[in-house]
Amino acid sequence: MKIGVIRFPGSNCDRDVYHTIELAGGEAEYIWWNKDDFSYLDAVVIPGGFSYGDYLRAGAIASITPVVEGIKSLVKEEKPVLGICNGAQILGEIGLVPGIFTVNENPKFNCEWVDLKVTNNSTPFTSNFKKNEIIKMPVAHAEGRYFVEDIDTLKSQDQIVLQFEGKIPNGSLEAITGVCDESGLVCAVMPHPERASEEILGSSDGLNFFKGIVNSI
């Protein structure tokens, strides 16, 4: 059982995610951006950071690298794919989840702890939470404002995974900050579960995302 951690030049949460996968009982392996076949893996996580410096647009350059083919193959094989922060932006750019994460309402970078509601607990990543459970994790981004044209479909197919509870720090549509594809196996979240995986760091709520992946395999 192995979980891949995708690495681009400019990724900076790769080590954190690797550490947290192991903390959750999984086995992690780094995957460099030029690999396009890693079907031996059971799941992948695209960590946060600034792939290619986020030059042009967050995630835009990463979304046209060879590694995307490998990720799409895993999706076809119905293996879990989680994108966190920059990873979420990349999944949006590829089109594996609906909608986009764009420049915050206040365009400054914003790092703070937020309260979140687990809207959908039927994905592998959120299966350890109760529906509508309130959890705590930090956000850290300048381009995290979620927008989608067809919000009704998103709702009817239960594709909203996480919503800000209370304050919305970036102007996201309907406070949405985590979405999944129709299968629920591809999930994009702006908050950082790996930064909330040990009580001493402020919360261990985030560890459930990784335990969820490990348990689903």
Binding site: C13, G48, G53, N110, E198, I200
Partner: protein, 744 residues
């Protein structure tokens, strides 16, 4: 050119000829104050630099201190004042870039950044512009390279209107047996230059930093500011760590001020070797660059690795993986000369054209200057002030941009990446866990008003305050780094200030057994006669057992509030004077080293006896906060604000120095106003479980007293002439949103 006549004379004597144009440029850079420390070196020798945990003191790119059996911390601090005054976004960003490279050069993974920033009044539009873009520069650079910015300070004062200060501290983790140095010990090894390309930016950056700014600097000196590229820096960081992991490198050094000239000459001079550099092998960003531009370029994101030729292919492969330009640019020789040759041009005998050839020691070790030092005439003002009602003063100080929350700033910094941040920004110091048991605790402080009024006490006091902040988090202080920002050293009064300040810092560091392991000097912080308040920024590294870490917020109603350390009648130089009366006058609070040490030791002893746990309900000691800017009043207010709980305080219980009481023959000789706002050193406020109070007071052998109780939603202060109540919500309103209102 800034070389003086006597320096030129010295150069001619050493070379036995005139330097050519290229050589003169290289010497000019190396003889600059920034590279040579020629005015400050004799005075910096006062610092204690060795101690039990110290692995490396000053002399390399960063100092190194042992923090656990296995791990060490590389720590450095740098100023980027002049560039930030001219081009705040790029200046601040490249300041981060420079200090990160210094840490990487020791073989360490950078784990924390702290910034100490000083600007003119926030009401001033230009100062706001500088503030906004310096913070954005730090944010865009630090966030992109994935190193958390976890702490620092911001001060606004008239004296920084034309000379903002941007000081950046960085700490990196390295296993003790993997430390590398900036040396080139083996003749025949080659220099691998990798990372960014060499371009025309930053030429004479160090000479520009070694002169006063003028009103034309913003236009004239822009080319001296380097261009930062955090994405490339991130790749350089990763590639460097991979090279260090896979290859047995002999030495590493980054290219900062003075570019290739400084880097190569210092690498070889340390080992009494020489260097032969092939000018044409250096990869350039633009066409038609002259040898002068190439050798002096301060283009960013460049590193030099000194390696055995057999490792070249492996090193190239790593650079290629990260798509980073790389080249072998020369070899280590035994000539003791720094030689640059142009392989495209041959002399009449068919040999490569030697375009520069000088003893490496001439470049790397210029003579010190013995400048005149003279105390300025002492005209101490003493304007008497009318004290407004205490309630009004507390709220006004809380809402001054110097005291109010800096959330607007630290929200823009990623302070969580690398998942070590145990205590978030806004408390006394940053706490970063390094393993399951231990944390490094970092603080960065300076009191520029105190230093202006009394350089000795201000210098020592800045070290004391930084140490108190680390101790407040439960850490034992291990080492100090400093960034000394002063005016023009050609002025004997400025150099007197500098020497007094260093003496104070040294005395305190010596007694505390916290050696000064790395530092930076920034002179010439004045513009057309306006001088900055002298600002010795002090970074302190402490190490805490995670079980001993305590935050400042009140935890439980009913906890007893204890103050440790005596208060003196020392209202001069206070935040109260600056905010309420626009005054910076009189004497700074005195540093009393023995009292400072006893108070700190008492805190650490209490924590060791607590046998507690971070954030545990069973702790006997529940909160700790130091007393500094704003005095007891502001410390208590901050404890209330961060917890939304009030307190009832009896001011008559505050321990006053016996000497003060005896001198005045009256133990009530300090009025309540001065008691609350004096910034005497050596004081902490802690909260304890009520049933532990008596035992605790008996256990420690320092002036201390219970002054009240955590209670309700009001801060209630009762004294001989005071009886006030302020709602915690009003304190909070005053303290929050202040900077946001100016910055939008």
């Amino acid at each position: 050119m800034t070389l003086t006549d006597s320096e030129m004379e010295y150069i001619r004597k050493m070379l036995k000829r005139d330097p050519n144009e290229l050589e003169e440029g290289m010497l000019d850079v190396m003889f600059s104050e920034h590279c040579s420390y020629k005015s400050s070196r004799p005075i910096l020798d006062l610092f204690p630099t060795e101690g039990k945990n110290i692995i490396m003191g000053p002399g390399d790119d960063a100092g190194i201190v042992a923090i656990t059996n296995k791990l060490a911390l590389a720590v450095g601090i740098e100023s980027h004042n002049h560039p930030s005054a001219i081009e705040p976004y790029g200046g601040a960003g490249t300041g981060i870039g420079g200090i990160l490279r210094d840490i990487i050069s020791m073989g360490a993974m950078p784990i924390a950044l702290l910034d100490s920033l000083r600007f003119g009044p926030v009401e001033d539009q230009k100062s706001r512009y500088l503030f906004e873009h310096v913070v954005k520069g730090i944010s865009d650079y630090g966030n992109r390279v994935g190193v958390p910015t976890v702490g620092g300070e911001v001060e606004f004062d008239e004296s920084f209107r034309t000379n903002p200060l941007v000081n950046v501290m960085c700490a990196g983790l390295v296993e003790k047996d993997k430390i590398v140095k900036g040396i080139a010990p083996n003749v025949g090894d080659v220099f691998l230059l990798m990372g960014g390309l060499t371009g025309r930016d930053g030429i004479h950056g160090v000479t520009f930093a070694s002169e006063e700014l003028t009103s034309d600097s913003e236009i004239e000196d822009r080319p001296a500011v380097q261009i930062g590229d955090p994405f490339t820096k991130k790749k350089v960081l990763e590639a460097s760590l991979e090279i260090l992991e896979k290859i047995d490198v002999a030495g590493v050094k980054d290219l900062g001020g003075g570019g290739l000239t400084c880097c190569i000459s210092e690498l070889v001079e340390k080992c009494d070797n020489g260097a032969l550099i092939d000018l044409n092998s250096i990869l350039l960003r633009e066409k038609g660059m002259t040898p002068y531009e190439i050798m002096l370029s301060e283009s960013q994101e460049r590193m030099v690795f000194v390696i055995n030729p057999k490792y070249v292919n492996e090193a190239f492969a790593i650079c290629d993986k990260y798509e980073l330009p790389r080249a072998i640019i020369g070899t280590v020789t035994d000539t003791k000369l720094m030689v640059v040759e142009d392989t495209y041009n041959k002399d009449e005998n068919g040999n490569n054209d030697i375009i520069a050839s000088m003893p490496a020691v001439l470049l790397a070790d210029p003579p010190s200057l013995n400048r005149e030092i003279k105390a300025p005439e002492n005209k101490k003002e003493s304007i008497k002030v009318e004290n407004p009602p205490i309630e009004e003063s507390i709220l006004k100080i809380l809402s001054s941009p110097n005291i109010a929350t800096k959330k607007w700033v630290y929200k823009q910094y990623d302070h969580e990446v690398q998942i070590r941040t145990v205590v978030k920004p806004g408390d006394d110091a940053a706490v970063l866990k390094v393993d399951d048991e231990n944390a490094v605790v970092l603080s960065c402080d300076c009191n520029s008003i105190h230093t202006k009024l009394s350089p000795y006490n201000g210098g020592a006091g800045s070290v004391a305050e930084a140490i108190r902040n680390v101790v407040s988090m439960g850490a034992e202080p291990y080492a100090v780094v400093d960034c000394l920002n002063f005016g023009n050293p050609g002025n004997p009064g400025i150099l007197w200030q500098f020497k007094q300040c260093i003496q104070g810092m040294s005395d305190l560091a010596e007694k505390f057994e916290t050696p000064v392991i790395s530092g930076n000097v920034s002179f010439y912080n004045e513009t057309e006669g306006i001088k900055i308040n002298p600002s010795p920024t002090v970074g302190v590294v402490g190490v805490a057992n995670l079980n001993n870490v305590r935050t400042m917020d009140f935890k439980n109603e009913g906890d007893k509030i204890v103050i440790i350390g005596s208060t003196y009648d020392e209202i001069d130089g206070s935040e109260y004077h600056r905010t309420l009366h626009d005054l910076e006058q009189g004497e700074a609070p005195k540093i009393r080293i023995d009292e400072e040490i006893s108070s700190s030791k008492a805190i650490l002893k209490l924590l060791n006896n607590d046998h507690g746990e971070f954030n545990s309900e069973n702790n006997k000691i529940t909160a700790i906060h130091d007393c500094s800017a704003g005095g007891i009043a502001i410390s208590l207010a901050e404890m209330s604000i961060s917890s939304n709980i009030g307190a009832e305080i009896d001011l008559t219980n505050i321990p006053i120095s016996e000497n003060v009481a005896a001198e005045n023959n009256d133990k009530d000789c300090i009025n309540d106003n001065d008691l609350l706002f004096s910034e005497s050193h050596g004081r902490y406020i802690i909260t304890v479980k009520p049933e532990q109070l008596d035992k605790l007071l008996n256990d420690i052998n320092v002036p201390c007293a219970c002054i009240g109780e955590v209670k309700g939603n009001v801060l209630k202060l009762t004294g001989k002439e005071t009886d006030i109540k302020i709602k915690v919500s009003d304190l909070k309103n005053a303290y929050t949103g202040v900077i946001e209102e100016f910055m939008a």
